[in-house]
């Protein structure tokens, strides 16, 4: 890894540092502020578990962020992370409960607009929905946990001193879980934008294979940990003694509720379990730990009759949902322009869109007559957004149909190279049938990713997506991940 690459990662590391400095207070703030746990103990546990969470559980939420927009150039990722960090900093100065999750989403949309890429509205909807859902779920979780704790303590007749020791131990355990969840859920904010251009190769370490993603996330986790160690003490003491004046037991409930919610929004295992049982799953999205904490406190406040609830923090959350992504998006757009034009750095790799016969034929299969797109045949552009607008305006196509055409028209030269099949594919991961299907395509070239997907589906049913019902979502997710891996592996970089 060169110094240049490290420089580009620095904005992500800065974002990680600020996340560690601010959000660790949501996990251990009340415990440290009320002097139930020493700062040194809290910082050490928080740092270790943030890194563990980032490395082991970080990929779920990162995947959703990747769907929103795939920032495909390192300088672009640098600028996006920097914009998020700067707007987070500015909003914090303005006294708003800022969320790095919301800032990074805004910044990615800013990149999409600048690069002429289409924002996946499905991913955006599930992300925005999760922002609203997050404090609500935290509130409900806090109420349930509080009632359970109250009933247990009411019956157990534990000595005040023993209860104090148990609460301390609980705050440490739950804090560790909270730190793990924070790492797993929020690492996507810090390092997610660097994923498409990840500079780390997979490698073997002490007999274990460590993926490039895990190395990237570990670096981000370390940045968060440095933030925790160097700056979070002050924030923790402010949070613990200031706005969240809670009893240690209530603090335990709040941290538990927050950790649970962050875990729910990050855990691929939980998602797999829910889907495996035919239950609706919760989108894996980076959410705001600050807003989860506020949601949990409001939940407890409502349980006590609602007298303690102040409306200002609630208003601030709502404002944060709009103001943070908007500020980050505008900052990203402006900074991308500066980095692109003043510093002459590639902030977005050019993506080509070509409406060829394969695209029109495929659209005909999907019910759009070839004549509709006839005058566009052979059209090439590097701006997907303008192509979509042309399709909507001049060809009277509905937005979702126009997006479908743009998606199909994206050019991704692929060469299924036998050498790469043998070298880069793991037969254990793909399985015999899927591997055989890939081998059957050896030597073929495709212009669009969907052509490869179609060919794979033809070669083996194990490469086919199933009907989109909860029971099949896990299967479809796995197939999609494998297909994306094949695209990355067989991408023919010699062609534009």
């Amino acid at each position: 890894m060169t110094l240049g690459v490290l420089f580009f990662l620095s904005s992500g590391l800065f974002l990680g540092w600020s996340l560690g400095a601010n959000d660790a207070a949501n996990v251990f703030g009340t415990a440290v502020g009320s002097r139930m746990v020493r700062f040194g103990t809290a910082a050490l546990i928080c740092s270790v578990f943030v890194i563990v969470g980032a490395v082991l559980g970080g990929s779920g939420a990162a995947h959703t962020l990747g769907r929103l927009g795939s920032v495909n150039a390192l300088a672009g990722a640098f600028t996006v992370a920097l914009s998020a960090a700067l707007s987070t900093f500015a909003m914090t100065r303005a006294g708003l409960p800022v969320s790095t999750s919301q800032a990074i989403v805004g910044a990615i949309i800013g990149w999409n607009l600048y690069a002429g890429m289409i924002t996946d509205t499905g991913a955006l909807t599930s992300i925005v929905l999760s922002w609203v859902l997050c404090p609500l779920l935290a509130g409900v979780a806090a109420v349930v946990i509080f009632l359970l704790l109250k009933a247990t303590l009411g019956r157990a007749h534990i000595h005040l001193l023993r209860q104090d020791a148990l609460v301390r131990a609980g705050l440490i355990l739950v804090g560790a879980f909270g730190a793990y969840s924070l790492g797993a859920n929020n690492i996507a904010n810090v390092m997610g934008v660097f994923l498409p251009d990840n500079p780390f190769p997979d490698r073997e370490l002490l007999g274990m294979s460590v993926t490039g993603v895990q190395q990237l996330f570990m670096l981000g986790g370390v940045a968060i940990a440095v933030g925790v160690m160097t700056y979070s003490g002050k924030v923790m003491r402010t949070v613990g003694g200031g706005i969240m004046r809670l009893s240690p037991e209530a603090a335990l409930v709040v941290v538990m509720a927050q950790a649970l919610v962050l875990f729910v929004f990050a855990s691929e295992e939980l998602e797999a379990w829910l889907l495996g049982h035919g239950l609706p799953s919760i989108p894996l999205v980076p959410v705001s730990s600050s807003q989860a904490v506020i949601g949990a406190i409001v939940g407890l406040g409502l349980l006590r009759g609602g007298r303690m609830i102040r409306l200002r923090p609630l208003g601030s959350i709502g404002l944060g949902w709009l103001a943070t992504p908007a500020a980050a998006g505008v900052t990203a757009f402006v900074l991308l322009f500066v980095v692109d034009n003043v510093f002459d750095q590639t902030v977005a790799r050019t993506v080509h869109f070509r409406v060829d016969e394969a695209v029109t034929a495929r659209m005909e299969d999907e019910g759009v007559p070839a004549s509709t797109l006839a005058d566009l045949l052979g059209t090439e552009t590097t701006n997907g957004l303008s192509l979509q607008k042309t399709l909507e305006r001049d060809h009277a196509l509905a937005r979702h149909v126009a997006r479908r055409v743009v998606g199909l028209a994206e050019v991704a030269p692929i060469h299924v190279d036998l050498v790469r099949i043998n070298r880069d594919l793991d037969p254990d991961w793909l399985g015999v049938d899927q591997m055989r299907a890939v081998r059957s395509l050896a030597g073929l070239r495709f212009d669009h990713t969907w052509q490869l997907y179609d060919a794979l589906a033809q070669a083996s049913p194990l490469w086919r997506l199933r009907e989109d019902i909860p029971l099949n979502r896990l299967w479809n997710k796995e197939v999609r991940q494998k297909r994306e891996f094949l695209v990355r592996t067989f991408r023919d970089e010699s062609q534009p």
Binding site: M36, F146, H157, I158, L161, R168, A169
Partner: protein
Amino acid sequence: MSLFRTSRIIERQIDEFLDAVNQGALLFRDAVDAYLAGRLDEFNDKRERLEELEGRADHLSREVESSLYTQSLIPEHRGDVLGLLEHTDDIIDRAKTCLQRFDVERPDIPPAWQDHYHRLAHTAYAAAEAVVMAARRFFRDPAGVTDYLFKVHHYEGECDKIGLELRRGIFADPELDLAHRQHLRYFAEAVDRVADMAEAVADRLAIYSIKRRL
């Protein structure tokens, strides 16, 4: 885990402290009985044991206070617990002072009024015993504290009644001169003060227990 070991040690110290106060109140009751019956050796023995217990209770209270501060334990309730220990310690302190006055001043209690002093000491003991039980409850079951507080208030009220009856009787007794009357009143008030201290602790416990409930 040292956290749990420390809390076990402090729990034991608090229990020992409350035992000392309870036992001290019992010795106070028995010492007054012995004095009334004229068994002065037994009275002195019980008074000395009470003095030892009072010293022990002071020591335990200081130990608990020091541990709670140095280990930063129960930050939310530290002030309440220390206040509780301090005021509970006042009960045994008051009992000790009362017995020392009996020892020094040797009041001459006429047989006609001995039963009142006997009842007064027994009721004051009952109030102290109930408040010690309430204090124990505070640590384990704050909701159950009120059951005992009711008893404390009841016994303290009884003490007030007996004390009033005693003072009225003494001052109406034509066989007693004014100095004797005042001396006897002074001792009636000294015994009653033990129950007053128990009630003062009960009043604090009522608030502490509300604060302790989640």
